[in-house]
């Protein structure tokens, strides 16, 4: 019988003291991070959607795309930063559970792509 193997970095992260500490956290700490994750997501998604729709010619037509980008960029980046940091905490707290999930890996690829687009 063969055991599932993971990349060395994932193995190392899963066995690190940090991952152990996060994993042993109080359930309400998990709840807090999930809540922060959702709030960051709402802020990043809502603001980027308004810009994306404007680029398509919909929504906030009273303003130009450049103006919308200038106004909303700080909130978009703040939301994305909050979502990424809280998401990293949640991932480190349960590395192997998430890594084993194919949907999570799809999410990771999409997330890296969209974060690079924002830069």
């Amino acid at each position: 019988m063969s055991l599932t193997t993971h990349p060395a970095a994932i193995e190392w992260l899963a066995k690190s003291t940090l991952a152990h500490q996060f994993n042993q956290a109080d359930p309400w700490t998990f709840a807090t991070f999930m809540t922060i994750h959702l709030l960051g997501l709402a802020l990043a998604f809502g603001t980027s959607l308004i810009l994306d729709l404007r680029l398509l010619g919909w929504g906030l037509r009273a303003s130009s795309p450049a103006q919308i980008a200038r106004n909303l960029q700080p909130y978009l980046l703040a939301g994305l930063g909050i979502a990424l940091l809280s998401g990293a905490w949640l991932f480190i707290a349960d590395v192997l559970k998430f890594w084993a999930n194919p949907v999570f890996r799809t999410k990771l690829v999409l997330l890296i792509a969209l974060s690079l687009i924002q830069v």
Binding site: P27, L39, A42, G46, G59, Q67, N71, Y75
Partner: protein, 162 residues
Amino acid sequence: MPLGDFFNQVATLPISLVLGESLNLFSALDVIHIVGVLLLAGSIAVVDLRLLGVIFSDIGLDAIQRQLLPLTIAGALLVFPSGIGLFLPQAGKIWLNPLLQAKVALLLLAGLNVGYWHYNYSRHAEWSSAAALPWQARLAGASSLVLWAATIIAGRLIAFYI
């Protein structure tokens, strides 16, 4: 009829049973609910920030409100039916969850805030194009941001209260 009996009956409605027994349907409602929250809360937050005078001060409030309303409505059409769908199969137990009760109360307050703001706004035509808005508008924006954020927080925490 006591409230508990009422919610027990709600949980045994045919639609509640269908939703409760279907794994995929319930998960789908979960995803629809979150996407709806992102649309609803995100578009409302932009209007709130305009009320506070933080962004888009060069664009009239009337244009911002009119052009973002379709997004808010789309979010509401996703979030409310899916939320009711998630509630139905669990109605018998979940109505006792203090975080669900807090969420319902916060939703009512957020709704009252929207109603009170539009009543106020309708009586002040000069606000629709003003760059800096009076304290009533800034208070409406700030309380809306706080109430919707608190609604999301309470909603997310429902699952952690066992």
